[in-house]
């Protein structure tokens, strides 16, 4: 509880010093993800309440709970796609609510990589186009060498010119992971990455995500109700129907 109050009441001046650049340098000290006094409601219906939770840099976290407990909503809150009704979220020490809208979009593009539950690759673009788009939208230089390297690492280099409609589910998932990683984010969010997979593939995907996160020194946050994988995470947040 002490920690909770400290996080919420941190003076603004101190927080401003801990910008994203400073946070990377002090990865050991600044937690990569912090929730403080977080509450979210849709209308008057409460969805989430988390007094305090943090994931230290270099470790991974899992958001657990049955369907309808707000896991996806929480991921959206972390990504800054939603603003919480109450409380605050910090990524690498930067409070999301202190950022203007355009600034938050840019921050999300660079700091957060998201693997959506339904992947949602852009069908009009090739695999390569999807990755290039991610870099461009975040305002980053094209860096074709890094993209090639990433495609190699995920074993999908031969699919670079393919369209999403031509991919198998497994291939599409790898592409979606590549797209989440291509901007070298500090935080990788994955929504139910394994729920539709058999045991073997579920294990493979988690290996892949953790391996890639480690390779780019990023923190992986997975939202799931899949009991098979939760053991793999050191920091667990259990969401329930009545928080």
């Amino acid at each position: 509880m002490d920690q909770d109050i400290e996080a919420v009441d941190r003076p603004a001046a101190e927080l401003a010093v801990v910008g994203p650049d400073a946070a990377i340098g002090a990865a050991g000290r600044v937690p990569v993800l912090t929730f403080a006094g977080l509450e979210h409601r849709f209308g008057t219906r409460p969805i989430l309440r988390i007094d305090f939770f943090e994931v230290p840099a270099g470790e991974h976290g899992v958001l657990m709970g049955p369907s309808g407990t707000g896991k996806t909503t929480l991921l959206h809150l972390i990504a800054g796609l939603l603003r919480p009704s109450e409380g605050r979220i910090a990524i690498e020490g930067r409070w999301l609510d202190t950022m203007r809208r355009g600034e938050l979009d840019r921050f999300r593009g660079r700091m957060v990589g998201i693997v959506l539950q339904r992947l949602h690759l852009l069908p009009a673009l090739t695999v390569l186009g999807n990755l290039r788009l991610a870099r461009w939208l975040a305002g980053l230089p094209a860096d074709p060498a890094a993209i090639r390297h990433l495609l190699d690492a995920l074993g999908i280099r031969h699919l670079a010119r393919a369209r999403p409609a031509e991919l198998s589910q497994g291939e599409a998932q790898r592409v979606a992971i590549a797209r989440a990683l291509v901007n070298r984010p500090r935080l990788i969010l994955a929504d139910e990455p394994t729920s539709a997979l058999d045991d073997r593939n579920a294990a493979l995907v988690i290996e892949l995500l953790m391996g890639q996160a480690a390779a780019s020194d990023a923190t992986l946050i997975v939202a799931t109700h899949d009991a098979r994988i939760v053991d793999r995470f050191g920091h667990r947040l259990l969401l329930g129907r009545r928080p």
Partner: protein
């Protein structure tokens, strides 16, 4: 990767639909561009051909017909004028110059006009080759007439009686080409010019002495026989005033005191353009309707496309896209469709204008060309681009407002 390649990727992904919109828009643009070109060049052409001709005097009849036949060479003459009348008016101090016009024959559809060298001077046309006519049965060809007839210097040709082109050949008195005019963009380009006496002798009329001398016309009043009967006649004569003020008296004098009529090309031209303008306006409405249909189609395509693309838009937001970026992308797609439609439409319109005279002989006298921009085309371009943006604006606003979290599964 940038917005442009992204927009093109999406248009390519729905290529049939995009192509349909572009073609639809192109038809509207082509119609209007063609009309703009047509009316601009028609007006320009008609104005240029009538330039400097203050009055046309000819036999009584329709004043418009008189102008059409003697200035533009497209209608039958109203009748004939005794040469004496020409000389009488030429001697009037209010008249600076007269140019007689004698019609009656054609060569392969091109009119043979008996006149004086003053006619060539009037339009400031230069000779490309040879010289002006000096004796009977010598002819000078306008550039287009020479090209289409395939006639060169010293070639001979036989005139056909009548302006319709179906008359009997005057085989007894062929013409010799002694000069070719450089192209001048006037009515002369499509005429064969010769001396007055050539027309007379072809038709068996004894020419008066020195009728072909332009200076003689002005002071020939005393020597030439007064008109009437079978004496030398012309079909009309073009008059240039010596001093301003003549336009108030001269036409009235001619119309009231003689058996001739006087018509001012400027006034008839206005009437003519008014008539043509009504038809052009009607076609312009048609073109505008085509464009409106195309814009509606672009709007529907973007709007319904947006439904399929909501997720794509949401994903782009998760990748760091700003709302503004999505909005600009949709507007850009509308703009690309509008631009492609414009380019294709202008190409079709200008292409048609260029080949139309080849396909429709009746358009030949206009000398229509697609190798120019008509006034108003700039406004057309601006208008189409503006409506392209307009058609995209509502879908773009919708994209701006998309609730991405709800789309991606946050339960509300």
């Amino acid at each position: 990767m940038n917005l442009l390649t992204l927009s093109f990727a999406y248009l390519r992904a729905q290529a049939p639909n995009a192509a349909l919109n572009v073609v639809l828009l192109a038809f509207g643009v082509a119609t209007i561009a063609l009309l703009l070109l047509f009316s601009a060049q028609l007006e320009d052409r008609l104005t240029r051909d009538a330039q400097g001709i203050d009055l046309v005097i000819g036999a009584k009849g329709s004043p418009l017909q008189l102008i059409l036949s003697s200035v533009y060479h497209v209608d039958a003459p109203t009748g004939s004028v005794p040469l004496g009348e020409v000389e009488r008016w030429a001697a009037d101090p209010r008249v600076e110059a007269v140019i007689p016009i004698a019609l009656g024959d054609t060569v392969d559809g091109f009119r043979i006009v008996g006149t004086t060298p003053a006619y060539v001077d009037h339009y400031r046309q230069e000779l490309a080759e040879g010289r002006l006519w000096a004796s009977p049965q010598e002819a000078v060809l306008g550039a287009e007439a020479a090209r289409r007839l395939g006639l060169r210097l010293d070639d001979m040709f036989i005139a056909r009686h009548g302006l319709g082109g179906g008359g009997a050949g005057h085989t007894g008195s062929p013409y010799r080409v002694v000069g070719l005019l450089a192209p001048g963009g006037t009515v002369l380009d499509r005429l064969a010019l010769t001396g007055l006496e050539s027309v007379w002798t072809t038709h068996g009329i004894e020419p008066p002495p020195a009728a072909n001398d332009p200076d003689a016309l002005k002071d020939a009043t005393a020597t030439a026989p007064q008109g009437g009967g079978d004496g030398p006649e012309v079909n009309a004569f073009l008059v240039r005033y010596a001093a301003p003020g003549a336009e108030a008296e001269l036409p009235r004098e001619v119309n009231l005191e003689t058996r001739l009529q006087a018509a001012a090309p400027a006034a008839e031209l206005d009437r003519l353009l008014l008539l043509v303008g009504t038809g052009i306006d009607a076609l312009r409405v048609l073109g505008a309707l085509l464009i409106a249909a195309a814009v509606l189609s672009v709007f529907v395509a973007l709007w319904s496309g947006l439904k399929e693309r909501r997720y794509d838009m949401a994903v782009m937001r998760t990748l760091g896209a700003r709302r503004r970026t999505l909005m600009v992308q949709i507007v850009l797609e509308g703009l690309i469709l509008a631009s492609l439609g414009l380019l294709l439409g202008l190409a079709i319109g200008h292409g048609l204008a260029e080949v139309a005279p080849e396909l429709v002989p009746a358009l030949r006298p206009l000398g229509l060309t697609g190798r120019m921009m008509a006034p108003g085309e700039g406004a057309l371009i601006a208008l189409v681009l503006a409506v392209g943006v307009l058609a995209a604006l509502l879908p773009a606003l919708q994209a701006y407002r998309t609730d991405i979290a709800a789309l991606l599964g946050s339960r509300g």
